[in-house]
C-alpha cells in the first residue's frame, strides 16, 4: 500500500496553487482512496473509534481545565462546581470521566484484535510497538487524571502507585521525593499531575501519527492474515472511502450508544463511591482499588509476595507486549488457521477477566463459598491471592510458550488470496491440500 499511486487531480485554481506549495489536499485525498483489504470485519473498526475517543477526551479535557483548580484546597470543590454551576459542566465531566473507560474498552478490543489476527508480525512490528507505547501512555494519562478530583480514592490511589516507584532499590526514595515534589503526596504533586495530564494526550496524538504512518507504509492486515499479492490488488482491495468510512461510521454510532448509556443513565457505575469524599491523608479507605481498566495489572502486582518483585511483574506484563513480534515464531498470522493458539487465545481473554476480578477483591477473601482449604506458603488456596497467582502465571505463560507452539502446531490450510475462500471455499482447500 506504500506504492499506492496518487489518483488526485486538482480541480480548482486554488487546489493547483496549493498542490505545488503544500500538497495537503492531495495527502488527504490519497488517504481516502487508500486500497484497503475488502474482508475487514467489525473488529477493525476500533482504530477509528479510538481516534474518536482521543478527540473527545482532548476537547472535553480542555474545557474542564478552564474550570478546574489544581490546588489541594480547591480541587474537590472546583469539580463539584463544574458539576453544579458550570453550564453543561455535568455533561462535559461525565463524558470525560466515562470517556476514559470507553477509551480502554476500545483499546483492549483493538489490541486483542491485533493479537488474534497476528497484526504484530512482519512487516508490521513497528505498528504494534508504537501501539504498545500508546497503551502505556494511556495508562499513565488515565492514572494522572483520576488523581485530579482529589477524592479519597484519587489521593490514596496516587499514594499507592507512586510508592511503587519508591520500591526500586537504592534510587527509589530520591526519585519518589522528586516525583512528589515533597515528602508526601501534596499540593506540589497535584499541580504537576495536572500539568502532565494535560501534556500526555498530545504525546499520544503524536504517537498516533507514527502508528498510522507505519500502518500505511506496511499496509493493513486482514482477517485471513495474508499479504495481498500485487496482481490481486484490484480484486482484493477497496478504496478506504466510502467503503470503510461508512463501515467505521456505523460502528461509531453503535459505540456512541453504549457511551451515551453510561453518560446519561449510569454515569457513576464505573467510578467508586469513596471518591465522593474529599481527600484525607490521615485515613485510608477500607478497600482501595484502581479503576476497572487497571484491575488486571493490580492483581499481577499483588500476586508477587515481594514488594519490588510485584512492581517488576506489573511493568513486565506490559513490557512483554513490546517483544511479542519476536516471541511468536509462527509464519501464519491469523489464528483462524492456528488451532492450538486459538484455544490459548480464548483462555487468555478469559484469564484477563479473572485477573480483573482478583484485582477487585480483597486478597484474603474466599473465591468459592466461605470455607478454608489448606494454606500454601502465605495464603489459603481458596483465596483471590492464589487465584490471582495462577492467572498471573497463565498471563506470562501465554506469551512465553509461543515459540514452542509455533514448532508443534500444525496449521490449517491458508487461502492464497482474500477472495478465494469466499468464491470457492471447497476448491481452495482441496488445492492447498
Amino acid at each position: 500500500m506504500s506504492d499506492h499511486e496518487s489518483t488526485y487531480v486538482p480541480k480548482t485554481a486554488f487546489e493547483r496553487w496549493m498542490d505545488s506549495r503544500l500538497p495537503i489536499i492531495r495527502f488527504g485525498a490519497d488517504y481516502m482512496s487508500l486500497p484497503t483489504p475488502r474482508n475487514l470485519n467489525y473488529w477493525w473498526t476500533f482504530g477509528g473509534i479510538l481516534m474518536l475517543c482521543l478527540g473527545i477526551q482532548i476537547v472535553t479535557g480542555i474545557l474542564l481545565a478552564m474550570h478546574y483548580v489544581p490546588n489541594t484546597e480547591m480541587a474537590f470543590e472546583s469539580v463539584e462546581r463544574i458539576m453544579r454551576d458550570v453550564n453543561g459542566g455535568w455533561l462535559i465531566r461525565y463524558v470525560h470521566a466515562n470517556g476514559a473507560s470507553m477509551f480502554f474498552i476500545a483499546a483492549y478490543i483493538h489490541m486483542l484484535r491485533g493479537l488474534y489476527y497476528g497484526s504484530y508480525k512482519a512487516p508490521r512490528e513497528m505498528i504494534w510497538i508504537v501501539g504498545c507505547l500508546i497503551f502505556f501512555l494511556l495508562i499513565g494519562t488515565a492514572f494522572l487524571g483520576y488523581v485530579l478530583p482529589w477524592g479519597q480514592m484519587s489521593f490514596h490511589g496516587a499514594v499507592v502507585i507512586t510508592n511503587l516507584i519508591g520500591s526500586i532499590p537504592v534510587v527509589g526514595g530520591p526519585i519518589l521525593t522528586w516525583l512528589q515534589g515533597g515528602p508526601a503526596i501534596d499540593n506540589a504533586t497535584l499541580n504537576r499531575f495536572f500539568s502532565l495530564h494535560y501534556l500526555l494526550p498530545f504525546l499520544i496524538a503524536g504517537c498516533v501519527v507514527l502508528h498510522l504512518w507505519a500502518l500505511h507504509h506496511a499496509g493493513q492486515n486482514n482477517p485471513v492474515g495474508i499479504l495481498i499479492p500485487k496482481e490481486r490488488q484490484a480484486k482484493d482491495t477497496l478504496p478506504f472511502h466510502p467503503y470503510y468510512t461508512v463501515k467505521d461510521g456505523f460502528a461509531v454510532i453503535l459505540f456512541l450508544l453504549l457511551f451515551s448509556y453510561f453518560v446519561f443513565f449510569n454515569p457513576n457505575a464505573l467510578g467508586h463511591a469513596d471518591n465522593f469524599i474529599p481527600a484525607n491523608p490521615l485515613v485510608t479507605p477500607a478497600h482501595i482499588v484502581p479503576e476497572w481498566y487497571l484491575l488486571p495489572f493490580y492483581a499481577i502486582l499483588r500476586a508477587i509476595p515481594d514488594k519490588f518483585g510485584g512492581v517488576v511483574a506489573m511493568f513486565g506484563s506490559i513490557g512483554i507486549l513490546f517483544v511479542l513480534p519476536w516471541l511468536d515464531r509462527s509464519r501464519i498470522r491469523s489464528m483462524r488457521y492456528r488451532p492450538i493458539m486459538k484455544v490459548l487465545f480464548v483462555l487468555f481473554v478469559v484469564n484477563g477477566f479473572i485477573l480483573g476480578w482478583c484485582g477487585a477483591e480483597l486478597p484474603d477473601a474466599h473465591v468459592i463459598g466461605n470455607f478454608s482449604t489448606f494454606t500454601v506458603y502465605d495464603g489459603d488456596l481458596n483465596s483471590f491471592l492464589w487465584l490471582g497467582r495462577f492467572a498471573t502465571l497463565y498471563y506470562f505463560a501465554f506469551f512465553l510458550v509461543m515459540p514452542f507452539v509455533a514448532l508443534k502446531e500444525k496449521p490449517l490450510p491458508v487461502p492464497s488470496s482474500i477472495s478465494e475462500p469466499v468464491l470457492a471455499p471447497e476448491a481452495a482447500i482441496e488445492k492447498k491440500g
Partner: protein
C-alpha cells in the same frame, strides 16, 4: 574507523586532530545539554517552603492512656500512641519472636517514656494508613494489602518489608515533643 569517516581518501595531514575536534565538540554539546536540563529536572524537587515545614511540636497531655492521636507531619500521618502496660508487656515479650525486620521494643521508644510510641503512620508497603486494633498481633493492620503490625509497630505478617518508621523526635520537656 574514525579516520576513514573523517578522511575518506587519506587526504589531510593530521586526522587525529580533526577527530579530536569532533569528539570535543560533541562532548561539549552533550555536557551543555545535560547542564541545561538539570535545573529543569531539579525544579521538580521539593521547594524551599515545602522543606521549611520539616518539624512540628506536640503536647503529649492531649493523649489519654490507651488512646492514639494522629497528627500530620510533612504531609504524612504520625501516630502518637499512649500504650497500656499490657501492650508494652506484649511488645517486650515478643522481642524474641521471629520478626521480619528485627528490632527490640526498647529501640523504638525513648528511655523513660516507654508508654509513648511515635510512628509515621504510612504502611512501609505502599503507603496506606494502617488502622489500630484490627490486626492479628494487637497493633495495626493495613487495609490495602493486609500487613499486620504489633503493639510496637513492628511488621509481623504481610507484604510490608519493614517496621513502621519511628521519626526522629526529642523531648523538649516531660510532656512536649518535637518531631523532625
Amino acid at each position: 574507523m574514525a579516520e576513514s569517516v573523517v578522511h575518506p581518501e587519506g587526504e589531510g595531514q593530521d586526522p587525529n586532530r580533526r577527530d579530536f575536534i569532533h569528539i570535543a565538540a560533541g562532548a561539549a554539546a552533550a555536557g551543555a545539554g545535560v547542564a541545561a536540563v538539570w535545573p529543569l529536572i531539579n525544579s521538580m524537587n521539593p521547594a524551599a517552603d515545602t522543606l521549611a515545614l520539616a518539624s512540628i511540636e506536640f503536647d503529649l497531655t492531649k493523649v489519654q492512656e490507651g488512646q492514639q492521636v494522629v497528627i500530620k507531619w510533612q504531609g504524612k500521618p504520625v501516630f502518637v500512641r499512649y500504650r497500656t502496660p499490657a501492650e508494652i508487656e506484649r511488645a517486650r515479650a515478643e522481642d524474641s519472636a521471629a520478626l521480619p525486620d528485627p528490632q527490640t521494643d526498647a529501640e523504638r521508644v525513648i528511655e523513660g517514656h516507654e508508654q509513648y510510641l511515635v510512628l509515621v503512620g504510612s504502611c512501609t508497603h505502599l503507603g496506606c494508613v494502617p488502622t489500630f486494633g484490627t490486626g492479628d498481633f494487637g497493633g495495626w493492620f493495613c487495609p490495602c494489602h493486609g500487613s499486620h503490625y504489633d503493639t510496637s509497630g513492628r511488621i509481623r505478617r504481610g507484604p510490608a518489608p519493614a517496621n513502621l518508621v519511628v521519626p526522629t523526635y526529642e523531648y523538649l520537656n516531660d510532656t512536649r515533643i518535637r518531631i523532625g
